[in-house]
Symmetry: C2
Subunit: 414 residues, 2 copies
C-alpha cells in the first residue's frame, strides 16, 4: 500500500503504525490531533512513539495534526471544493492546514495553481527539510512556498534553502515574529518559533523571499507565476485619477520602486493626444477618462519602450467607470488595450482594478480579472500591493543575478 | 445667490467671478481645471486673478480643479450614485476629488456615513485651514478626516489642528511622503508637499491620527464611528483555525496590541465545553468548528469580563463554513452570537470575516457585514487591519486622556 490516511482517534495511532509497518505502507498521513501540540505529557509520549515506529520501520509519517496532501495531478485532495485542474507549478509545504486550505482557495480566487500542497502539522517524522528537499528536485515545481512555525533541523533546512534559492524562488511565511505568536505556535503545533531576528536574517541571506501574511504570499506568488524577469526597479505607472496617481507614487516609493520622471520627448508624444487640464503625463500618467482604448494602448507602448521602464503598473477605477454611460463596455475595452500592450512589451506589467468593495463593482472586477489572468497579467487590489510584489520579484532576480555572476555554484549541477 | 457651481472653461473664470461679485454670491465652486496645477504661467496668472477677485469681493471660492461639496443633509452631491441618507457624523476635506469620491463609495461599502465632504483642489481661496476651522465648530461633525497634498497656511493649520484634536478625532492622509509623490502633487494641484519628516511629527504631536492610504482611512474611521472608548491595548482574540490564530497573534503584536495569556481559571472555564485536541483556549482562542453559537457567545462573555481584555477581535472563516453542511446558516448563527455578545460587553469588539475573494464567499461576507454594521460592530477583511485600527483608536484616546489630565485646556471652552 502506498498511502494511508488516518482520522481515527489518537489512542489507536500505535496500532495503526504497527499494522502499516507489517503491510509495508510507504506513507501514513495522520489527520488526527491530540499529540504533542496539546502540551500534555501523554500526547507528547504518543507522538514520540509514532515517530519511533516510523524510524524503525521506514513507514514515513505526514503529521500528525494536519490536512495532509493535495495534488490535483495525482487526484488527491482533502476537500471536495478545491480546484482539480492539472498543470500548476507551485509547491507549498505548510505547517498549518488552515493556511494551506486558505492558500488553495486564494489561488482559485486570484489565478495561480498549486501542483502539490502538503500540510504537515507536528512534523514528527517528515519535516520541512524533507519537503524542501523533495520540491527542490521535483521537476514539476517551479516556485516553492513555505509556511513555517518552527524548524526541526535548522542547519539542514538552511543548507537546503541556500541550495535551492538560486534555482527556484522560495517564498517563506515564517510565523512567531512576536512573543504572542510564539506562544500561539506552542499550542498549535508544539513547535519552537526560534528567534525572530535570527530567522529573518537567515531567510534573507539564503536568498528566499519573506512575506508576512497570506495576501502578501498570494501577491508575490502571482508576480513569479506570470511575469517575465526584471532586475531593475524603474517603474512606469499609468492610470486615472489625480489623488490615486499621487498615492501610487508614494506607494511605489515605499516599496522601493523608482518612479522616474519621463523625459520631455515622451511627454511631448503623449501630449499629442492628451490635453493639459486635469491630467498628467510625467510619471505617473494620470490619463483622462475620455481617452480611447487605442490611446491607452499607445501610451503603454510609448512608455514601455523607455530603457528606464523596467516595470509597469496600470490601474483603472471600476467604481468610476461604472457610473459613466457605457461604462461596463469601457472597462472591457480599456482592459483589452492593457492586456494587448502587456503581451507585446515583454516587460512585467501588473494590473490594478480599483473598486470600493460594493458587490456589483467587485463582481465586475472579478470578471475582468479572469480575462487578465488568461492573458498572463496578474491583478492586484491596490497599487501598494502590486508595487510590493514587483519589488520582491526584482529583489529575487537581483539576488540570482549576483549569485551566478560571483560563480558561487555551477549552474546545472542539479 | 448662495452657491454657484462652475464647469465652464477656465478662460471664462474672471467674467464669472466678476458677475458673481455683482450678484453678491456667497460661494463659488470651480469644477474647472487648467489653472495653477498645469504648471504653465497662464494658468497660474488666471488662478491668482480669481483669488484676487475673491479677496476683494468677499465671494469665497472652492477650488478650482475639484469636485466641490457633498452633503446628504442639504441635498448636495457631485454624483448621482452617492448615498443620500442623513445622519452621518464624519466630515472630510480632501484636496483630491478622486479620494473624496472613492471614500464616499468606501463608506457605502463598509458602513460609515459622511455628513459633509469637500473636494477643494488648488485651494486658491478657501483652504484646508478654513475647512478645518469650520468642521471644528460644526456641531454635526464628530470625526474629521483630511486628505492633504500641501498646506498653504501651515502655522494656522497646525494651531487649528492642536485645538481640535483633543475634542474630535482628526484622521489625516498626508500625501507626498516620497520625492516621486511630491512631484506627482506638483502636477496634480500645484501644491508644495513639504518635508515628510516635519509633517509626520507635526501631525502626531498635534494628536491627530495619521493614515497612509484610503483603506486604512476607512478602517480607522470605522473604529471611531462604532466603538466605545478604550485606553489600553490588551486584546482578546477569538476565532477558528490554528494558522489564522498564530497569524492573529503576530498581527496584533505588530499593531502594538498586547495578546496577554489568559489566566488558568479562564482556561478551565473554557475547557468545560472545549476539547483539547485541535483547539487552544489560551489567547488567541482557536475554537472548534462544532462549537455552538451559544458556546461562542458564552466564551466572548467570559473573556470580555477579564480586566486585561480592553479590546476584542472575533473572526470566522466564511470560506470554511460554506463547505460544511448547513454552513450558510451556521455563519448566520455564529455572527448573531458575536453581535449579541458585542452589544452586551461594553468594550470595543471588531469583527473579521475571513474569505478568499471568490464571488459567492464575498457575497456572503457582505450580507453578514450588513448585519454587523446594523448591530454597531465594525467589520474588517483581515485581523491585521482590525488590529491596526484598534491601535490607532487607543492611541488617540490615550492622547486625549493625558491631554485633559495635564489640564492643557479647559474642557468645554468650545
Amino acid at each position: 500500500m502506498d498511502f494511508v490516511i488516518v482520522s481515527a482517534p489518537a489512542q489507536s495511532a500505535i496500532e495503526i503504525m504497527e499494522n502499516s509497518a507489517a503491510k509495508r505502507v510507504k506513507v501514513i498521513h495522520f489527520y488526527t490531533a491530540g499529540f504533542g501540540e496539546t502540551g500534555g505529557e501523554e500526547g507528547k509520549r504518543l507522538e514520540e512513539k509514532v515517530a519511533g515506529i516510523a524510524r524503525r520501520s521506514g513507514v514515513r509519517v505526514v503529521g500528525p495534526n494536519c490536512m495532509g496532501v493535495y495534488s490535483p495531478q495525482y487526484g488527491i485532495s482533502w476537500r471536495l471544493d478545491f480546484p482539480m485542474q492539472k498543470g500548476g507549478t507551485v509547491a507549498f509545504f505548510s505547517q498549518s492546514g488552515w493556511h494551506a486550505t486558505d492558500s488553495i482557495k486564494l489561488g482559485a480566487a486570484r489565478g495561480f495553481q498549486f501542483n502539490k500542497v502538503v500540510s504537515y502539522g507536528n512534523a514528527c517524522d517528515l519535516n520541512e527539510s524533507d519537503f524542501l528537499e523533495y520540491f527542490t528536485e521535483d521537476p514539476e515545481t517551479k516556485i516553492i512556498v513555505a509556511y513555517l512555525e518552527g524548524v526541526r533541523e535548522g542547519k539542514r533546512f538552511l543548507q537546503l534553502l541556500r541550495r535551492v534559492a538560486p534555482i527556484k524562488p522560495v517564498i517563506v511565511l515564517k510565523a512567531g515574529r512576536s512573543e504572542a505568536g510564539a506562544r500561539a505556535i506552542a499550542s498549535h503545533t508544539g513547535s519552537l518559533a526560534g528567534e525572530e531576528v535570527v530567522w529573518d536574517s537567515l531567510i534573507r541571506q539564503a536568498g528566499a523571499i519573506r512575506v508576512y501574511n497570506l495576501d502578501e504570499l498570494a501577491d508575490t506568488l502571482l508576480a513569479f507565476f506570470y511575469l517575465p524577469v526584471a532586475k531593475q526597479r524603474g517603474v512606469a505607472v499609468i492610470g486615472s485619477g489625480g489623488g490615486p496617481s499621487v498615492q501610487s507614487a508614494d506607494d511605489c516609493a515605499s516599496a522601493r520602486l523608482s518612479v522616474f520622471p519621463f523625459p520631455a520627448e515622451i511627454r511631448r508624444k503623449l501630449h499629442e493626444f492628451t490635453p493639459k487640464a486635469g491630467t498628467s503625463v510625467r510619471n505617473p500618467i494620470d490619463f483622462p477618462f475620455y481617452w480611447t482604448s487605442q490611446e491607452l494602448y499607445q501610451s503603454i507602448k510609448i512608455v514601455a519602450a523607455l530603457r528606464e521602464a523596467h516595470l509597469l503598473i496600470a490601474h483603472i477605477s471600476v467604481d468610476y467607470l461604472l457610473t459613466v454611460p457605457g461604462g461596463r463596455e469601457k472597462i472591457g475595452e480599456l482592459s483589452q488595450a492593457i492586456m494587448r500592450a502587456g503581451k507585446e512589451i515583454g516587460k512585467p506589467l501588473a494590473m490594478v482594478l480599483r473598486q470600493c468593495g460594493l458587490l456589483e463593482n467587485y463582481r465586475v472586477a472579478l470578471e475582468e480579472q479572469e480575462k487578465f489572468i488568461e492573458a498572463g497579467v496578474p491583478v492586484y487590489p491596490t497599487i501598494a500591493r502590486a508595487a510590493q510584489a514587483l519589488n520582491s520579484m526584482v529583489q529575487y532576480y537581483r539576488f540570482t543575478d549576483s549569485f551566478y555572476r560571483q560563480g558561487r555554484i555551477e549552474v546545472g549541477t542539479f
